[in-house]
């Protein structure tokens, strides 16, 4: 699976491993009177697994939506690969190399597993309407080339047996896996995973953790993960940022965060 995928897409570009790839400074987001995120700052370094944790409603998913351009924060600055980002559409974030999965599986239900993952290659496919209409020559060879890349992902995620099955009928755990495959097909530099293990049993969680670690190691992909299973978070992530009521309450290695009093209070409650 390693050598065959387009090497350019996994190249670091202008960011060296360990350097800051994306930084969020003082970002605030509110919907009317509801403040979802209040002045949060943190950074994501190239090649790390960065976890975002926090109780329900802490603003974790909103944070991901801000990062990939779905929400536009009222205040604050986001810098991606050294460039400051203004308000942008999500497809531009995608073209810059940010992919994500969703908390509630957001697959294209009417399409097969293969087509879903092929959709992830959209940005890499250049042929226009007319050559598609004939499905001959360049359009066909492009399709075959990308099919090959997608088959590597299918092999890697061990979903070859459901290749042609419509995703709407797959069990939940497999749907999550297909969704990861779809994001991987984009060969992203930054992969945002929103609760990839929600609702999974132990075995499925182990599989998913294995996939995430392999993705990080082989593609050198930077990963941001939101997860509620603390065991998984502590084992997988290099650094953890903790949100509560839209504010950052802790940031550091898993061990540091675990012993942080504010985090313990946020999770267990505190006597007032």
């Amino acid at each position: 699976m390693k050598a065959d995928v387009d090497p350019k897409a996994t190249m670091t570009g202008d960011v060296e491993p360990g350097q800051v790839m994306l930084s969020v400074e003082n970002v605030s987001l509110s919907f009317g009177g509801v403040k979802a995120i209040r002045g949060v700052s943190f950074d994501i370094r190239k090649g790390e697994i960065r976890a975002i944790i926090g109780p329900n409603g802490a603003g974790k998913t909103s944070m991901l939506n801000v990062i990939n351009g779905f929400y536009h924060p009222q205040e604050g600055v986001i810098t991606f690969k050294g460039r400051r980002r203004s308000a942008m559409r999500p497809y531009i974030a995608a073209s810059q190399g940010i992919a994500r999965t969703f908390q509630n599986v957001a697959l294209f239900k009417g399409m097969s597993t293969l087509d879903n993952i092929m959709t992830g290659r959209t940005l890499k496919m250049k042929r226009g309407l007319l050559s598609h209409a004939l499905h001959f020559g360049p359009a066909k060879s492009e399709e075959i080339r990308h099919r090959e890349a997608v088959e590597h992902i299918i092999d890697f995620l061990e979903i070859a047996h459901i290749r042609k099955a419509p995703v709407g009928k797959l069990p939940y755990g497999l749907q999550k896996r297909v969704e990861l495959g779809r994001a991987l097909a984009m060969e992203p530099e930054l992969l945002l995973l929103d609760e990839p293990m929600a609702g999974m049993n132990l075995e499925e969680k182990q599989d998913m953790s294995r996939f995430i670690l392999t993705v990080k190691d082989t593609f050198n992909t930077t990963i941001v993960i939101i997860e509620h299973d603390m065991g998984v978070v502590m084992d997988l992530s290099d650094r953890v940022v903790v949100l509560d009521y839209g504010q950052k309450i802790a940031d550091g290695t898993p061990a540091e965060v675990q012993s942080n009093q504010a985090v313990i209070d946020a999770y267990l409650g505190v006597a007032h």
């Binding site: 990939n68 779905f70 559409r89 999500p90 497809y91 974030a93 995608a94 073209s95 992919a99 994500r100 969703f102 957001a106 697959l107 294209f108 239900k109 009417g110 399409m111 087509d115 092929m118 959709t119 992830g120 290659r121 959209t122 940005l123 496919m125 042929r127 309407l129 598609h132 209409a133 004939l134 499905h135 359009a139 066909k140 492009e142 399709e143 075959i144 099919r147 090959e148 088959e151 779809r182 984009m186």
Partner: protein, 367 residues
């Protein structure tokens, strides 16, 4: 089914991605084309060709076009009749010569009369352009609200083609007669020739539609249909995906409108493309199967053949049944069938056919 893919192993992605991966399907399609092109014209009666097969083929093409928009891209449209009309009137103008004085700009557009084939294609392009214009609201509004916007297109163009006499070359009655169908010296006149002409158009565009929906563009359309937010986060531009769907769909509907006017009707007035035509195409797509090229054909066949079937069968069985009752029966059956399919099987006959095939693979065992 009588056959299955067992034993047919694919050793290349090219073979696996073929339009019909199963060998028997390919043979069946080839046979069907041979029969349609070489046997039907000589076997079928004049009435059957002219009154059933020609409208069936033309409306199938329209249904394929509408299916791309509604079934594949998920954008509801009630304006199909308007786009057929645009195709028909544009073709008419191109065949009779366009003369448009633009006094304000001190210039004029003047195009000499063109041959029929380029005119039909240009008619399709005009429909595509208007389709893109009326598709722009789809970037903001969805579902029923979009349906209302396309309904506006329907009423607007009904009005335009009645009131703006320029489109009908100032004929006093407002009705328009198609010029001679001359294809590079070959004059299409008899029913057989008309049938073959329509068949050729439908075959070409059905293959093009099938190619489009299995390629990258088709996946973009379906992604927008199934989950537009996720599609955008995958890098799909909704602007591009939706407007290409509107363009391709309107192009095919425009071509079918031109054929309907030139080949089937011969002479027509704006009423030929009123809202009932839009509904007819939409019902074909819903009954036949949203998101299926085969379904477009099944839907067109059903909607056209049901009235004829109800007309003939009771007579043949000796059941006395009045003409009015039959026309009411058609409405009752179509209406209830649409309700039934929308509730039970939104993907229509095409899905029922697929389910039947799945069941037959295992028959007589349950699994």
């Amino acid at each position: 089914m009588l056959y299955r893919e067992a034993g047919q192993f694919k050793s290349s992605y090219s073979a696996d991605m073929a339009m019909f991966p199963i060998r028997q399907d390919r043979i069946a399609l080839a046979l069907l084309l041979v029969v349609a092109f070489f046997i039907v014209p000589f076997v079928a009666s004049d009435y059957f060709l002219r009154a059933i097969l020609v409208p069936f083929l033309i409306l199938s093409l329209g249904a394929i076009g509408l299916n791309i928009l509604v079934g594949y891209c998920g954008q509801i449209s009630l304006g199909a009749g308007a786009f057929m009309a645009i195709g028909a009137y544009s073709t008419y103008k191109f065949t009779t010569g366009v003369h448009l004085p633009l006094d304000w700009f001190g210039t004029e557009i003047s195009i000499p009369p063109l041959a029929v084939l380029p005119s039909i294609l240009l008619g399709g392009f005009m429909a595509a352009i208007v389709g893109i214009l009326f598709g722009i609201p789809s970037l903001r509004i969805k579902g029923l609200y979009l349906a209302v916007a396309t309904l506006a297109a329907q009423f607007f163009f009904d009005w335009v083609f009645i009131r703006v006499k320029w489109f009908s070359n100032y004929t006093p009655s407002g009705s328009v007669a198609a010029p001679e169908l001359n294809f590079f010296g070959l004059v299409v006149h008899s029913s057989i020739e008309r049938y073959l002409l329509c068949l050729a158009f439908v075959t070409v565009f059905a293959f093009i539609a099938k190619n489009l929906v299995r390629g990258s563009l088709g996946r973009q359309w379906m992604a927008i249909r199934d989950m537009d937010i996720a599609a955008e986060l995958m890098g799909i531009r909704p602007f591009y995906a939706k407007l290409t769907a509107f363009a391709v769909s309107s192009f095919m509907i425009g071509i079918s409108g031109a054929l309907w006017a030139f080949v089937y009707l011969g002479a027509w007035e704006p009423l030929a493309f009123d809202i009932n035509r839009s509904f007819q195409l939409l019902f074909m797509v819903i009954i036949g199967g949203l998101g299926s090229i085969l379904g477009s054909f099944l839907g067109a066949a059903f909607i056209l053949i049901l009235p004829i079937f109800l007309d003939q069968v009771p007579h043949a069985l000796g059941i006395p049944i009045s003409v009015e009752t039959i026309s009411h029966l058609v409405f009752i059956i179509q209406g209830s069938l649409i309700c039934y399919l929308l509730i039970v099987e939104p993907h229509g006959f095409a899905r029922l056919w697929a389910i039947a095939k799945e069941k037959l693979r295992l028959w007589p065992y349950p699994y």
